[in-house]
Symmetry: C2
Subunit: 377 residues, 2 copies
């Protein structure tokens, strides 16, 4: 098993406006993407990887001259890896509204000549899938062998089957949910309030003020981070371990290692992540709800996906998107007699497990991709 | 079953310095308290109620001329109620460092003549219990029939048996834990960071600037509130219900009812709660860890409590202080052959259940207090 090696992002510009679910349009935009492996002659071996909140098109490989620049799913994707680039042509794409290269809030709004900021049009999972479909067309890929994603990426994978049923064979939805629960929305909302009420946010137009709402971003990331880890994993890793030998009896200084870890995560995040992107992406999570247009009936929503095959994967300690939420998806598929494989992986790491190299998890994906490879010949 | 009726807070001043676990002292302080019922001739029927983060000495009854001023445990305490004021003399006391009348960060530091602010000495559960014990002495109560509390209040109840074994007969610890988990500390830390990084916090000396770090307090309360409710209760109460008929597609405005509810809770809280108190009380939660002085062995910590009887109560959906944490307490007691009753109440409301009127829960408390009443005669 090897790495895909040195990779370089590419980009495509789209001048045809993209109509959005909100009624607005994205007038003119660029999508940044990467590819690994080789598209076969009949263009049947393409696999699209959709990213979650804090990720990008950089899914595998490393960048020239940059140590520790592995893509976020590098453990999964490469020659001989579960998603084998000797067999598949893998595409990672950065969604619009994100802050890793594709058109987003920090770019110029062609309508005004100023930075978009808070005026960047609200994106939904369906909008992203529409933009991804255009990119696939541009790359000459009429039908994907599979679309795969974890968390918010899993929602995009699901949305592909509903929006472009003729353009995707297999959907692999990992650690995801058919919609957010009230508790999920609540965590997103607190994180957003931390950002929006940071005086440096300036209603989302902080770029013009030469500041970044770092306080809000830090708190948002700390909240998020707690929900990505299982209670048990956090206990095993940090427990009540102190940073110093003795308690300092301070309300403002760090006492426990878990505090140090969270502050560090928050600080790092606030250095590179865009505040408007955080709002946009958490809102896309909130809005995703394919059952909504079908009177809340998820099975009716998936009736359109009858020609597809699904793999749904959940993790036992994921309390953000629990196995019960994945089972809702499986049930809706089974109700439609759609072929679905379901794996509930007993893993201690919580939601983050989808990014980690668990042998049982990776074996499930390896088998499933081997089966797809056999199907496409 | 009736109300204890109109009540009035009382106060006691203590000029003898209180040595604190941090090594500092509380030089001079006042404790505000309330009592309900009548102390019997042999002073054997006193029950101390300890409060949690956002509560006070005002445990039962109402204030003259104030509608909706019921004490926070009014459903439990009164004539004919589970904690029957026809039989017991019940005392509620506001802890030092709180913001409901007892000496706290918003009061004058006698050493400087200025407002304490962030200089208010760090309090621990043990310090509060020491102060409570002094108050009991002042009230002529040598031995409590029982000490009861939920959440952080339950920690104080536990600490009473360890610190003043001769001064309390029964300990009733509800919805509590022998210490905070890493995840619990993490949630506290995020809330504290939201407050401390609010520019209006001014290092805890905001009083001098005529401002209040309301942004931070709002976010802190929103985070806390999510952890007080069960996922299921939040889903049942709010689900994905929208505030308006249609989605507004906004990252900054309210879309879902749960957002509206959380913002309202945050706004209310920021109007009356003190930011330094929030830091102090969450730190007292973090620090509580009776096993720490016994090489992490909780059973050894409780060896001193052999003469006591315990009631431990947990709630099935409480994920902040889960039943598993209560069972750790029970196990440590059983290991010492200490008499303990344990009730795990199947309740949907999460951590907040300890404040609610659940018949199974209240029946357990009613029986237990009836037994105490029989014992003291």
């Amino acid at each position: 098993m090897g790495s895909v090696g040195i990779v370089k992002p590419q980009q495509e510009h789209f001048s045809e406006p993209l109509p959005l679910r909100s009624g607005a349009v994205l007038a003119d935009y660029t999508l940044v993407y990467e590819t690994y492996g080789t598209l076969n002659a009949d263009r049947s071996n393409a696999v699209l990887v959709c990213h979650a909140l804090n990720a990008s098109h950089h899914v595998a490989g490393t960048y020239e001259g940059e140590d520790r620049s592995e893509g976020w799913w590098d453990n999964l994707i490469g020659p001989g890896k579960p998603l084998d680039t000797d067999r598949f042509f893998v595409i990672g794409v950065n969604n619009a509204g994100s802050c890793f290269g594709s058109t987003g809030p920090m770019h110029v709004n062609p309508a005004t000549g100023g930075i978009y900021g808070a005026d960047f049009p609200v994106q939904t999972v369906e909008d992203w899938v529409d933009a991804q479909a255009r990119l696939m067309t541009r790359l000459g890929i009429e039908r994907l062998a599979a679309v795969i994603g974890g968390s918010l990426g899993g929602m995009q994978a699901l949305a592909w089957t509903l929006r472009y049923p003729a353009r995707v064979r297999h959907c692999i939805a990992v650690a995801t949910a058919p919609n957010l629960s009230a508790q999920n929305i609540a965590f997103n909302e607190v994180a957003r309030r931390a950002i929006i009420t940071d005086p440096d946010f300036h209603g989302g137009h902080f770029y013009a003020h030469g500041v970044v709402p770092k306080r809000g971003l830090r708190v948002a990331r700390m909240i998020g981070h707690i929900t990505y880890l299982s209670d048990d994993a956090m206990e095993a890793k940090f427990g009540r371990e102190l940073r110093a030998a003795e308690l300092g009896y301070s309300t403002q200084e760090i006492e426990f290692q878990i505090e140090s870890y969270l502050r560090h995560q928050g600080d790092k995040f606030s250095e590179y992540f865009d505040a408007n992107t955080y709002l946009l992406i958490t809102r896309a999570l909130d809005y995703f709800d394919p059952a909504r247009d079908h009177a809340g009936d998820l099975a009716r929503a998936f009736a359109i996906a009858r020609e597809h095959k699904f793999l749904v994967v959940s993790f036992s300690t994921d309390w953000r998107f629990s196995p019960a939420r994945s089972r809702e998806i499986v049930k809706a598929l089974v109700d439609n007699r759609i072929e679905v494989s379901y794996a509930e992986i007993d893993a201690p790491h919580g939601h983050d497990a989808f990014l980690l190299e668990d042998p049982r998890y990776h074996n499930v994906l390896r088998s499933y991709f081997a089966r797809i490879a056999a199907e496409i010949g």
